[in-house]
């Protein structure tokens, strides 16, 4: 599920997960499962909007990707994106998912997409551009999985391109920008106190540097 716990302390990624990190990440993933459940109620209505051209339905698929970037941006430790996305997938499997055990594969692939982007920035940058990129990568990976690996869809070339493109776009917005904004909102409420992202609301959007309050 995750290997970061055993990474030796001397490596550049030595940030060992604390108990708070683990429980908060797990709970976020489970809460995401509840949000999926709330979303599913509306999704039945939403999906009919795409009856005319089903491949475009991936435009709302980002709703199933947001735990990856949300976890990564809140926990800020190696493996957070994969862990959160996989636990969320496991919860939906336990509750009875549309894709059965296949959701674990989806969760792994999508989480990996986001994780690779965060890794590329060495787990040091959690700015809006990185979050959007990570969301898009999760969507891209999800699109590739659903069209080629698990192959739930067999659209023609145009359909496949639309589906994957829509997936990435949706991921960038719903699973990249929104989780980033949510993290800032959460940091402002003070609930992130025990976590590395506790000052996220004071970080500048693009440089990530904490703005000092010029009180003196």
């Amino acid at each position: 599920m995750n290997t970061s716990a055993s990474v030796p302390a001397s490596s550049p990624f030595r940030q060992r997960w604390t108990v708070s990190d683990i429980v908060v990440a797990s709970t976020l993933a489970v809460a995401s499962g509840v949000i999926f459940w709330g979303w599913n109620l509306s999704y039945h209505a939403v999906s009919t909007l795409f009856t005319a051209y089903p491949p475009a339905a991936s435009l709302v698929a980002g709703m199933w990707l947001f735990p990856a970037v949300l976890g990564a941006v809140i926990i800020r430790k190696p493996g957070a994106a994969i862990y959160c996305e996989m636990v969320a997938a496991a919860v939906s499997a336990l509750l009875g998912s549309q894709w059965g055990l296949g959701v674990l594969l989806s969760g792994l692939v999508q989480g990996l997409g986001a994780e690779l982007i965060i890794l590329a920035f060495l787990y040091r940058r959690f700015t809006v551009d990185v979050a959007v990129l990570a969301g898009a990568a999760a969507g891209l990976a999800g699109g590739i999985n659903e069209n080629f690996i698990a192959a739930y869809y067999q659209y023609d070339t145009v359909g496949t391109a639309v589906h994957i493109g829509g997936f990435a776009l949706s991921g960038a917005i719903i699973a990249g920008l929104l989780p980033w904004l949510a993290t800032r909102g959460l940091a402002a409420t003070g609930v992130l106190g025990p976590l590395k992202s506790r000052r996220a609301h004071k970080e500048s959007a693009l440089s990530g540097r904490v703005r000092e309050t010029s009180a003196t």
């Binding site: 290997t3 489970v30 809460a31 509840v34 709330g38 999906s47 491949p55 499997a93 549309q98 059965g100």
Partner: protein, 856 residues
């Protein structure tokens, strides 16, 4: 600072023995300072305190004095900011602990090693298992889904040998009086007080020398409070453990402890006196009273706010604002009953209530009696199940004469300006980024019935906001984030958001839970103003003082719904008698279906009761491997034959899982609908081939694309079936045991996920309440706001749960397992069956010529 030390009941242990001996721990703080990473000032500064082994201490102080921080420090769950300090800090404390060990038994006095806190001479982090911490919120004190597992959890974390665990578990459960329940009793069905006692059992199973309790009864009713207090006192006596309790209701504890320690806000210890001093030291009493603490024989609420009743305007003038007759209530909407199944039985029926202007009504009664459900129904947030709920002309107002009679049918904007609801957790109501915006939103959301025009002009809105900010003493916090306020400030703001829309009726759910005497008094005076202005207050509460202070009538739901009793602050029934009858009811049924305090479980697949079917009794690993084979066989190919084979096999295996066909169909029909969407999608957007069946102009449906669609749909449907079959018969706790022990996945992560999974039902409840709170505030359905609210609550719960888990030794080192996950011959049969189904599906598809590898 006074340093009287009462006689200690036990002989101090030397630190070397202290690790295994159950006797009391000596706590030594010298110059101890701690600053939270996100705060500007230290929570504790330069604190010197010595607590003798076996001493029972009540720790008090004004809110914000650092009481909880000190407890967390003693429990070893405070951490330095991960980015700095950690290494040096650890080195320093272990070095100094060696120095103290040499002179142990004497007074604190290692003047050179400042900023330290030691338990028997070692740092709390090293003294793992010596201290146990109980927090305020019962929900976050439970880690696992079954009571036996929950108690065993702490033993496992301390790597107690497997043979020793069952003995410790039953002894601990007996010590807290929960041994009449079966070990697999679901923790979700315990009442708040029982959850706290279970938490105590989990702590006692570690055989700790130091019991730390952080407002353990603040969220409990009087009955639960007494039971928890008595269990704690008895356990501390029996084990000679040192006891430190933080509590602002001093009355509950002061006659059961040796010492009262009062902390100085932002500093060290202000007083350290024998607890009995509180009864006769007038100066001390005055001082504690001024800090907002509740003193014995002088309940602040009654004293500070009581005015002669004659000064109140005559009550019950005018016609009733809201009348309920023969009302029946239930959490679930009656409209959902079109689904097959037994009709929902109301939790309460035949309720007659009339709310008159200027009158207050208290709804009292035991947990699970349906108090909150009744309140939510009266507040127009839940649909009535029977009887009538009628808003009088006075409540509808001149401009609202056209409104329907039942508040449930009103727009949220019309509701919020007539009936305001204050939820038990103030945070459920917060939707804006600043205090001022919260109040402004409420005032702006009040609309003229039938229109989208605001009830108040812009100037009026600004006036209302300013006046309320001043009245609530929140003006200096107008730009603060509501979530960052203190408990008392949040409570005041939550009442303010309801009042800002100008409702006549105000409903409050347990408004005084966990509040100090200051907030209590302010709440009472706010509500009395509302009453004097002709409004109505209805409160669900256990707090007799509160009802007395409001001069409220009492509607008691305890024995059975009865007409309102017109007496102020009726004395609650003897809690011990009630507790006993509850226990007896459980013993007599001998079952785990405790209907008295059953909560709704919206997640049928995650119930704690193990499945007893043949498949349910098999190990999770075998089932997982079988599921993997079948899923792989289906994913590898897109063809209808293999899908059909798997589907047939699953239906044939229903008896093995003891699932009735109807139940199974109910669970999977939604997935069938989803597969139809997959058929349609492929039919119009897949590569065209063969004969064109339908030409839609832009796109066409051909035989090829339709065939592809049918294959995809069948496959999507078939993938779901075995996983529904397997997961309906698999217990998450067993699955976690198996993943950690057999697959060697990291135990910290597996158990973290499992503990979070237990919060699922709780989060579903939060979701519903957040929805109610948004409607009560005059907002429509707001998915993102609700999702954000859920995330805040989820993280709050998780943070507290993490503290609970860590204080029970979780995550530090090797652990043992109370249950061995083993692979039996029957599990082998399951794997073989899975393999055979997968092989048969593939073989038949190949034979039929439909098999095609998707990755080829």
């Amino acid at each position: 600072m006074s340093t009287t030390t009462p006689p200690t009941p036990s002989i101090p242990q030397s630190p070397a023995e202290g690790r295994t001996a159950p006797a009391g721990v000596r706590v030594t703080a010298a110059g101890f300072t701690y600053q939270h990473a996100d705060r500007e000032r230290p929570a504790l500064a330069d604190l010197d305190l010595e607590i003798e082994p076996g001493e029972k201490v009540l720790l008090a102080g004004a809110s914000g004095a650092g009481k909880s921080t000190l407890l967390h420090a003693m429990a070893g769950v405070l951490h330095e900011d991960g980015d700095r300090l950690s290494r040096e800090e650890t080195a320093a404390s272990s070095g100094s602990s060696a120095a103290v060990e040499g002179t142990s038994g004497r007074k604190a006095a290692n003047a050179e090693a400042l900023n330290q806190l030691l338990l028997d001479g070692v740092s709390p982090a090293e003294a793992r298992g010596r201290a146990g911490l109980m927090q305020q919120d019962p929900e976050s004190q439970v880690v696992l889904a079954r009571i036996g597992d929950d108690v065993a959890f702490s033993c496992e974390n301390l790597a107690v040998p497997r043979d020793e665990i069952p003995g410790r578990v039953s002894a601990a459960l007996a010590a807290v009086g929960l041994d009449y329940l079966p070990l697999d009793h679901p923790t979700a069905e315990l009442s708040g007080g029982q959850k706290q006692r279970l938490a105590l059992a989990g702590i006692l199973a570690m055989q700790p020398g130091l019991l730390l309790l952080d407002e353990p009864t603040a969220n409990l009713d009087p009955e639960g409070t007494v039971q928890v207090r008595d269990s704690v006192v008895a356990a501390a006596q029996a084990t000679d453990a040192t006891l430190v309790v933080v509590e602002h209701r001093l009355t509950t504890w002061v006659d059961h402890v040796d010492t009262l320690v009062v902390l100085e806000p932002g500093g060290g210890v202000r007083h350290r006196v024998p607890a009995q001093r509180i009864h006769d030291d007038t100066a001390l009493r005055e001082e504690l009273d001024a800090s907002g603490l509740w003193l014995p024989h002088r309940e602040a609420g009654a004293r500070r706010t009581a005015e002669p009743s004659s000064s109140r305007p005559t009550r019950k003038q005018g016609s009733p604002l809201l009348t309920a007759s023969e009302l029946a209530v239930h959490r679930k909407s009656p409209r959902k009953s079109w689904r097959k199944g037994p009709p929902v039985q109301p939790v309460l029926s035949g309720v007659d209530i009339s709310l008159a202007p200027g009158a207050a009504l208290g709804i009292t009664g035991r947990n699970g009696a349906g108090k909150s459900t009744l309140m939510l129904t009266l507040a127009g947030l839940l649909a009535p199940h029977g009887g009538e709920l009628i808003a009088g002309p006075a409540l509808k107002g001149d401009r609202g004469a056209e409104l329907p009679d039942s508040p449930y049918q009103w727009r949220s904007a019309d509701l919020t300006s007539r009936i305001g609801t204050v939820f038990q957790e103030p945070e459920h109501q917060f939707v804006r980024n600043t205090v001022a915006d919260e109040l402004r939103l409420s005032a702006e959301q009040a609309k003229i019935p039938g229109t989208r025009d605001s009830l108040f002009t812009e100037d009026e809105v600004a006036q209302r906001v300013d006046r309320l900010l001043g009245r609530l003493r929140l003006t200096h916090l107008a730009q603060a984030n509501p979530f960052t306020l203190s408990g008392g400030e949040k409570r005041r703001l939550s009442v303010g958001t309801a009042l800002a829309a100008g409702p006549e009726v105000l409903m409050l759910d347990e408004p005084t839970f966990g509040q100090d005497a200051h907030t209590f008094a302010e709440l009472v005076s706010l509500l009395r103003e509302h009453l004097e202005a002709g409004g109505t207050v209805l409160a669900v509460t256990h707090d007799a003082d509160f009802l007395h202070a409001l001069d409220a009538e009492c509607y008691d739901l305890s024995p059975d719904p009865s007409p309102p009793i017109s007496s102020d602050s009726s004395a609650p029934t003897n809690p011990d008698v009630r507790g006993l009858s509850e226990n007896q009811a459980l013993i007599s049924t001998g079952q785990s279906d405790n209907t008295l305090i059953k909560r709704e479980d919206s997640t049928p697949l995650l119930s704690a009761i193990r499945d007893t079917s043949w498949l349910g009794r098999r190990g999770p690993l075998g089932k997982l491997i079988a599921l993997l084979f079948i899923t792989l066989a289906l994913i590898a190919t897109i063809d209808p034959v293999s899908a059909a084979v798997v589907a047939v096999a699953c239906f044939a295996l229903l008896p093995v899982a003891n699932i009735r066909l109807v139940t199974f169909l109910k669970r999977i029909w939604i997935f069938a609908a989803a597969s139809l969407m997959a058929v349609w999608g492929a039919a119009i957007a897949a590569e065209e081939s063969g004969r064109v069946l339908v030409d839609l102009g832009v796109t066409t449906i051909s035989t090829g694309s339709l065939e592809m669609g049918l294959s995809l749909g069948a496959r999507a449907f078939a993938i779901v079936l075995p996983s529904v079959l397997i997961f309906s018969t698999t217990d998450p706790t067993d699955l976690a045991d198996s993943l950690a022990q057999q697959l060697r996945l990291p135990a910290r992560f597996v158990l973290g996920a499992l503990a979070a999974m237990r919060l699922l039902g709780l989060m579903a409840e939060h979701w519903t309440t957040l929805g109610h709170a948004r409607r009560a505030r005059g907002l429509g359905s707001q998915f993102l706001s609700q999702a954000f609210g859920l995330l805040v609550q989820a993280i709050r719960m998780a943070t507290r749960l993490a503290v609970t888990m860590e204080s029970r030794g979780f995550g530090a080192g090797e652990r043992s397992w109370a249950r061995r996950a083993s692979f039996t011959r029957a599990d082998g049969v399951v794997v073989l069956a899975g393999f055979l189904i997968a092989a048969a599906a593939t073989a038949l598809a190949v034979a039929a010529g439909t098999w095609n590898l998707v990755w080829a």
